[in-house]
């Protein structure tokens, strides 16, 4: 009977969970082994470390890692840091809060490519910012702001797209904190910052971690914002991977793909531990 039950459960899991496990397992398997010379699409399979060596000997690879990390880290921190005070403000309903909530959520409905286009319209050589400043006579001629070398445009786009997402995750979590907990902290003399650091942040740490991790991974592997609004002299890791793939260099592309996965995985672990350490300090074991 027990065996029959297990067979029934396996049969139920196969179409959904089985499908995910099969394809994702294959993707991970192919990516990892292809980076070591196997799954050769244009010749014999040959286990080798040469593709990793080639990657590690190229400056463009390190530049891409640094650049993608820069975009991933900064975007996730700014998005969550801005979302927290807004979520705290919207914790209790007030006149107009539903409209504010909807307005803030609106960028979620806008595709990343559309967002990039809208942004480019603003900062382009013939964009509205240049037009306004020339119209009011502040600038004599248009200034080139698009594709800036510090990727400020990409960071603005990432925050534009991810802030509402962080807000959605945090708001539900913050709203679930009871008034009695916050009132008790207030009665004990905790000021706003102390309440945020010692009560609200620890109680919403899971949502904070989820928001930071998902935004970090998304921004780390960004392609569309970077290719439209990013600096032209830098490649994000996704761009580098696609460059290798389009040139038939599948093994090096696999190396970059595996790098993205490793950084995503390590980044997720690092974010979890760092946030716990910041808000729990030595009490980290108690949290576990």
């Amino acid at each position: 009977m027990k065996a029959l039950n297990y067979l029934k459960i396996i049969a139920l899991l196969l179409p959904g969970f089985g499908l995910i496990l099969f394809f994702l397992g294959m993707i991970l398997y192919v990516a990892i082994f292809q980076s070591f010379g196997l799954f050769n699409l244009s010749g014999e399979d040959n286990f080798t470390l040469q593709y990793w060596e080639k990657l590690f000997n190229r400056k463009v690879f390190y530049r891409s890692v640094n650049y993608s990390l820069y975009v991933g880290v900064i975007s996730s921190i700014i998005s969550v840091a801005l979302a927290y005070p807004i979520a705290l403000w919207l914790r209790k309903p007030f006149y107009g809060s539903i409209i504010i909530n909807s307005i803030l959520k609106a960028p979620l409905l806008v595709h990343g490519l559309v967002a990039a286009f809208l942004f480019v319209n603003l900062v382009a050589y013939h964009g509205i910012i240049n037009q306004i400043f020339i119209f009011i006579g502040l600038w004599d001629e248009p200034i080139r702001m698009q594709n800036d070398k510090n990727a400020i445009g990409v960071l603005i786009l990432q925050v534009w797209k991810n802030l509402p997402f962080a807000l959605l995750i945090l708001l539900g979590s913050i709203q679930s904190i009871g008034d009695d907990v916050i009132d008790a902290a207030r009665d004990l003399g905790a000021n706003s910052f102390a309440r945020l650091k010692k009560i609200i942040a620890p109680l919403t740490i899971s949502s904070m971690q989820a928001a930071l991790i998902i935004i970090f991974i998304g921004a780390l592997a960004d392609f569309s914002f970077q290719s439209i609004a990013g600096p032209t002299n830098k490649y994000s890791l996704s761009q580098l991977m696609l460059y290798y793939k389009n040139n038939g260099r599948w093994h090096e592309a696999a190396g970059v793909g595996v790098t993205i996965m490793i950084i995503s995985f390590l980044g997720a672990i690092f974010i979890s531990y760092l946030t716990k350490f910041i808000f729990f300090g030595r009490k980290i074991n108690e949290f576990k």
Partner: protein, 271 residues
């Protein structure tokens, strides 16, 4: 003026810059008539018409892209729903060893960067010689990528089915169909709508897979938008495609919120 009012005013001003100005710009650019260009010294387009909309409709791949996107998205939504139901039932109604780990692993496609997924998915298709049926390939990839959303939504729905209602129906000698109608159906109804709408929107918007696996033979709205923003960049044409991509999404999302009657779609979407 109290602090709340100041903050509301501030958010409204920021939103104006954040949302209204960029969309107004896109609408204006889509209406620029080619007879007189919109130059930097003019704050509004000198001549406005629907020429670009007509032009894009008649002379670009827009019709094909719209057709592909609007066949692909509902098919993906339907497949995701059908395939997710057995797994969701197991997650929502049955207890078994390793359930929590299995639930966590279903989220893998959401966490794995889409560009990595699409490149290695295309590599697998090459390996098995299955790379030519573009629609089928993009469909399979979309189903794998978005089925976690359906599973998550339907699992919550199955969890919400009340055991005492099922027991009561059974005690009153209800048949299996009647038990389904009285106990399961009311909880599953909104989930089915939500799953179809969310997967539909995600599939319409999806870029990485359509670009890497589908292009250049199988084009969708995001892939022609990408071309319109890159190699074929003509700002008014890109504005037309952007607006075509955004408006159905906004309408569908408003409809979704009404269906769910929820202020927090993150709970449903699993994001």
């Amino acid at each position: 003026m109290n602090l709340n009012k100041v903050l509301i005013l501030l958010i409204l001003i920021i939103s104006f810059i954040w949302l209204v100005v960029p969309f107004t710009m896109a609408i204006l650019w889509s209406l620029v008539d080619p007879s007189e260009p919109w130059t930097v010294d003019k704050i509004f387009p000198p001549v406005m018409s629907f020429y670009r909309w007509n032009y894009m409709w008649e002379n670009s791949n827009l019709k094909e892209a719209l057709l592909n996107s609007y066949i692909l998205a509902p098919t993906t939504a339907l497949f995701c729903l059908i395939l997710s139901i057995p797994t969701s039932y197991a997650f929502g109604r049955l207890n078994f060893y390793g359930k929590e780990i299995a639930k966590l692993l279903t989220l893998l496609p959401i966490v794995l960067p889409p560009f990595v997924t699409s490149i290695y998915f295309s590599s697998i298709l090459f390996e098995i010689g299955f790379q030519y049926w573009k629609f089928g390939n993009v469909l399979i990839a979309h189903v794998v990528l978005f089925i976690p959303f359906s599973i998550r939504i339907m699992t919550v729905c199955f969890e919400q089915v009340k055991q005492d209602v099922i027991d009561a129906a059974r005690d009153l000698s209800a048949s299996k169909i009647e038990v389904f109608k009285t106990a399961y159906f009311p909880s599953l109804k909104s989930g089915v709508f939500a799953s179809i709408l969310i997967v539909f929107i995600l599939s319409i918007e999806e870029f990485a897979i359509a670009f890497i696996i589908g292009a250049p033979d199988f084009i969708t709205i995001p892939t022609i938008l990408y071309s319109a923003l890159g190699q074929d960049f003509v700002r008014p044409n890109a504005a037309v495609i952007s607006l075509i991509l955004v408006f159905p999404n906004v309408i569908l999302m408003i409809f979704l919120e009404r269906v769910l009657r929820s202020a927090n779609p993150a709970l449903i979407s699993g994001k």
